[in-house]
Symmetry: C2
Subunit: 320 residues, 2 copies
């Protein structure tokens, strides 16, 4: 793992570019957010429009008294990203394909730009400045509308051969299970993601309409002692635990970090998932394993994008 | 990935220490076996006895005209191994626990010794000298009596925090599936390993007794056009494909290497497994993926153990 000088005062701008909103943060060398802004993602106007909007916000964030204080810009995008080429290969929620984001953004903001996958960015954030500091082997699992994973192995962030390492939401835990958004059957995401919980709770908790059901609604009913809600939470938690066991046996990390809106809205899932994981996984693979909640919340993506950009830009500039 | 001089003539001895037999090979810098021997594993006499037998065989293998030609010894052990400490933490088939194999062997053979997990050794062999040469991201899956995996990510062999990375046979593909040897339910190993095939074929192919059923027997019946055998092969192949899809989505390798006795005895599984994997996995994660058979056969473990020992011993000796 890289060592970071705690007095490091270099600034980088981090962007978490999601399907509905864009988080932009000015981040210092210790991972602290100095300034931040949020704007809606106007995806329907196309990528050039988003680049323009982003460039304006970035320009407004650069300190007017010291324009050279900001060394670069990191952008995490929900989708398949080729970091080396600076190209977003496919971002279905934005309807982007093969968009050279780095090239367009660098021309617009006049700063070095690093593009990356948003979950990998958030994992980097948790690793450097969140709950996973100093861990050599960790897996972050972000459970929100969908489920994505980020992997650090032997002190390095894994990207995979085409940037798709860590698609843990789309690993099959029940080969005969329900259909997933990806087309497969029985993915972890088809059991424990926000959309799957809404569907499942809608089926099981007939005292409410299914259309408005969220992890938070289930949590509220669970806390009121609702029996159907208890069964739903138990079922979802155990499915999540199967996913955690698979992570433990595949990667043998010391730490699994759980974050995302579903975990925040329904933290009751954690002890159920952990108990199931420890029953299912090999004892040797879980002896040193801790399972914890993420520390940076919704800021992980922007902080991680900024810090990874900083490390890559300085790493590129400094020989060796 | 490390570059190896093709004219490298350093010799290392590699040992594949299994539950029933011990393979010992004198290996050159290009991964070629110069001399070899095989002996039964007399596990019932305890670890000290095995160390003594091993030391005699190793001594007999060192060239009498140039004792300094051999720089060290690498040993792959079926079990949980702490390579840094040189300790076999747990090898259930040998009934070893916390055995300091490196210390005992170094005292007996007067050579530097490196101990490692046998599947990780075989993966290293396939990576350096087998079918996976020059791949940066690959996963080897060895399907024999049990199923084990070895992972190379971004040009490095992953060991995990306690040496258990790659226990892919014990990832759950069907959470309600049959019981596995590890105590979990629905592991990949409970569907596609040698013991699972024997069990499954015994249930489905009632024209034969179940006790003697092997992958080879199933293959023979399949080639004769036996209908029950065809269904068994289809079912096992599709289960294996679920495992391959999970590997693709988790690690995003360019190459999955399939080896082991079940694959050798029943190569018909491969096209079925590959078709299932490509249907289930994300298109982005499999676009560049090739699924191939292992190249070194039963020699992979000894070759890999030797070559990894060589790299670690020279790497330790050379600063930087």
């Amino acid at each position: 793992m890289k060592n970071h000088d705690v007095n490091d005062q270099r600034l980088t701008i981090g962007v978490d570019l999601g399907a509905t909103k864009i988080e932009i943060a000015l981040v210092d060398g210790e991972g602290r957010i100095i300034r931040r802004t949020r704007q809606p993602t106007e995806a329907k106007h196309g990528p050039a429009h988003i680049v323009g909007e982003l460039a304006s916000s970035v320009a407004a964030m650069i300190p007017s008294d010291d324009a050279n204080a900001v060394i670069g810009l990191g952008v995490g995008v929900a989708g398949q990203v080729d970091t080396e080429a600076g190209i977003v290969r496919a971002a279905p929620n934005l309807e982007w394909r093969e968009f050279p984001l780095r090239q367009h953004l660098e021309a617009a903001v006049k700063l070095p730009v690093v593009v990356m996958n948003d979950v990998q960015a958030a994992t980097y954030g948790e690793w450097l400045h969140g709950v996973a500091r100093n861990a050599e082997d960790l897996v972050c699992l972000f459970v929100g509308t969908g489920i994505g994973g980020g992997i650090v192995a032997a002190g390095r962030l894994l990207q995979g051969s085409t940037g798709n390492a860590g698609e843990l939401g789309h690993t099959t835990i029940d080969r005969n299970g329900p259909k997933c958004s990806c087309g497969n059957h029985g993915c972890l995401e088809a059991f424990a993601s926000g959309w799957a919980i809404a569907r499942f709770a809608g089926q099981r908790m007939s005292w409410r309409g299914s259309e408005a059901m969220t992890a938070g609604d289930v949590s509220e009913a669970y806390r009121r002692g609702d029996d159907a809600a208890r069964q739903v939470v138990d079922e979802i938690g155990r499915a999540l635990g199967v996913g955690l066991a698979n992570i433990a046996n595949s990667f043998n990390p010391t730490l699994i970090v759980l974050g995302g809106g579903v975990i925040d809205g329904l933290p009751e899932l954690l002890p159920i998932a952990e108990a199931e994981a420890r029953v299912r996984a090999l004892a040797a693979a879980t002896r040193k394993l801790r399972i914890v909640r993420a520390g940076l919340g919704a800021d992980a993506g922007a902080i991680g994008a900024a810090r990874r950009a900083c490390d890559r830009i300085l790493g590129d500039a400094v020989p060796g």
